[in-house]
Amino acid sequence: MMENAFVIPLLMAVSFTLILFFGKRIKGGQGAHLIGIPFIAAVWVLSVVVGVSWIDRVNDAEAAAEEQSELESEVEESLGLDGAAGGDGAVVLTSATVSAEAPVLAAEEGEEKLKVEPVIETVSWWSNGGFDFNIGTHVDGLSAILLFVVASISLLVHLFSTEYVKGDRRYTHYYAFLSLFTAAMLFFVLTENIIQLIVGWELVGLCSFALIGHWWEEGKNTNAALKAFLTNRVGDIGLLVGMITLYWAVREAGENTFSIQRINELVMAGELRHFLLLVTACCLMAAVASKSGQFPLHTWLPDAMAGPTPVSALIHAATMVVAGVYMIARLYPVFFEGFSIADGGANLMAIVGIVTVLGGGLLAFVQWDIKKVLAYSTVSQLGYMVLGLGTGAWAPAIFHLFTHAFFKAGLFLGAGSVSHGAGHTFDMREMGGLRKKMPITFATFVTCSLALAAVPPLAGFWSKDEILLTADKSGFGVFAWLGVAGGFLTAAYMTRVVYYTFFGEFRGTHGEPHESPPIMTVPLIILSVFAVLAGFVQATVSWIGTEYLIEYVEPKSAFPVLVHPEFSYSKAAIATAVAAAAIGLAAAWYWAGVGARAKVTDNVPPLKWGKTLLEQKYYLDHLYEDGVVAGTKGPLARASYWFNQNVIDRIVDLAGISARKSGEVVYDYVDQAVIDGAVNGAGWTAEGSGEALRTVQSGKVQQYGSLLFGAAAVLAILFVILV
């Protein structure tokens, strides 16, 4: 299956085409899910198969390496026995056993590193100038885990949506784009080279745009879609420039390839110039900042919540927004060398990450729209992933991506369920007291919130803790402590959300709230089960001791050597205590009542200024809209108008005039002289010759006979003379 992984995105593309052409004919336009769900279910099964095959491949490689090292140690032993010192052999034997049992340790020692190559399949896409542009699949632990995440979330969102968007006038359109998005995301995840990566990147952006603007009848939705698209374009320029720079760095090293694996190998071999790698990494960070909602280009992500909630769960929380994180992980050697992450201290990626963690977390406090709180929370959690990658915590960052996908999708779908049951609003001021009315939604939402707040032993605890621990051990101590502070914010704003939504009295005006049907609650339950259990795939604490991400997901070829610290009880205890304190303080604060709070925040000047700053979202939207957009819109429009009037219209006019002139010339000289001349000439010739010949036609039979016989006689004479 790993060799034929191309089938996975292809299936969803087929689903997209089928829905596009036949979706409207099923059940009067309300049956597109009947096509989409079987396809995504098949894709889910295939993604599990790919994951299992990859695990087998790593296990086989390990077993082979073990045999090899045993063999070598036997040889060494016999050599050692042959030699003078018997103790030598014993030492070699122990080191070999260690490397077989824990290849990671061996890798740290820098010898006998276990190598597992990714499964790469390519076909030639097109050839130009003697160079093949390939398209293909690159299957390794990273793509396998992403396949699983995308397929799982997408499957659950497909199920959830059958109820959530039921009766929508563009039901078919909605499912078609879900399929297209899934196809694009799977294509992106399996990308083999950087060209294909750009294609997948843009495709998911397009689907995001289309689905944010799903209800385009309302102007604000259209604006949100445009904002998302244009903000992403800003980053896409970085992506293009970065990839071009990367390619020229590769060219400089005498190679001519776009293959990600080959580029990573070259970087690890130290073939590429560090300066170019730095430029590449900085440019690509712009792309990551736009796609993955990093400061300061995160502003589109909260607005993207204008789309349907299941779409927010799938695209703007669990999968598409991690595309930037995935790209860093995929090209990790480039960033690792470019930003000199091994040196510790500070670098652009870690700084962007931590600013996003704290900035996003603070913004979540002043939002009243439950989805916007979750959106800022997503921004903040994406900050953790980028922080992790920027501080050498590769496996923990991917681990956080994995766990975050489940509990954040659970939270978004939970918000969707709340809205569905409580009068189609997302404003928390119109909720409250839903704990009794929607018990399943409440239970799953709280579970996912606790997972997000990193309460042990839920999923978020393991992943966030490991990011911070690894950051600390890799020489980024300050970032780790700031990350702990971010954890405080996370726990506090989630407490606020849970309080306003589920506790107190119901404040809505749209009838009685009710629990959602099973087709919506079952995905919630599944996601909350994942939110509880997903952490145990990498629970590094000694008495559980699973390290599946380090073992199976972390690349075992063309990859830098990273630190994998032991579980630290003291650090975990501090993080947990901070989270618990945050929950406690926030609970105390919000239970104190709105009036009391307003008195404090509105009367103490620094707090008041801070609140205003947060409510204005750091004035970034003002900066972009009034500064960047307004500053360019007017002059650009005038310049375009001038260009249109003076250049394009001039060219059009010139083309028109010259066409008329040449038409006249053709009329005068070609049409009148040549063609008409020929026609008239033919007429005159016919008339003249007819006039000449009519005298022969005398009507006298004997004259004809004379001509006949005369001619026959002449011919006969000629015949006699010539023959």
Binding site: Q697, S698, G699, K700, Q702, S706, F709
Partner: protein, 99 residues
């Protein structure tokens, strides 16, 4: 050789016939001149048939005589009709098809 005399006779008859066809103004005489032309041809057929020693020439001559009889029938009928309409059978005057 005996054949030459026949051919010369045929040629003389043919020339007389052609002269009659082209030069005489009476339509009946023109018709009779055509008979002369045809009979000149018949003489040639029979003469060559005798020379080759088979009957094909004579058979062809008989066909020509039969066709000539039919032709005279049609020709005389035409002349009769022309005479009835115009009371004149001078072929010089018959130039209705002049271009």
């Amino acid at each position: 050789m005996l054949i030459n005399q026949f051919l010369i006779l045929g040629a003389v008859l043919f020339a007389l016939g052609v002269y009659g066809v082209l030069a005489r103004r009476n339509a009946v005489t023109v018709l009779m001149s055509i008979e002369l032309v045809l009979n000149a041809v018949n003489i040639n057929f029979v003469a060559f048939g005798m020379m080759n020693g088979d009957v094909v020439g004579q058979v062809f001559a008989l066909f020509v005589i039969a066709v000539a009889a039919a032709e005279v029938g049609v020709g005389l009928a035409l002349i009769l009709l022309i005479y009835r309409t115009r009371t004149d059978i001078d072929v010089d005057e018959l130039d209705l098809l002049r271009g």
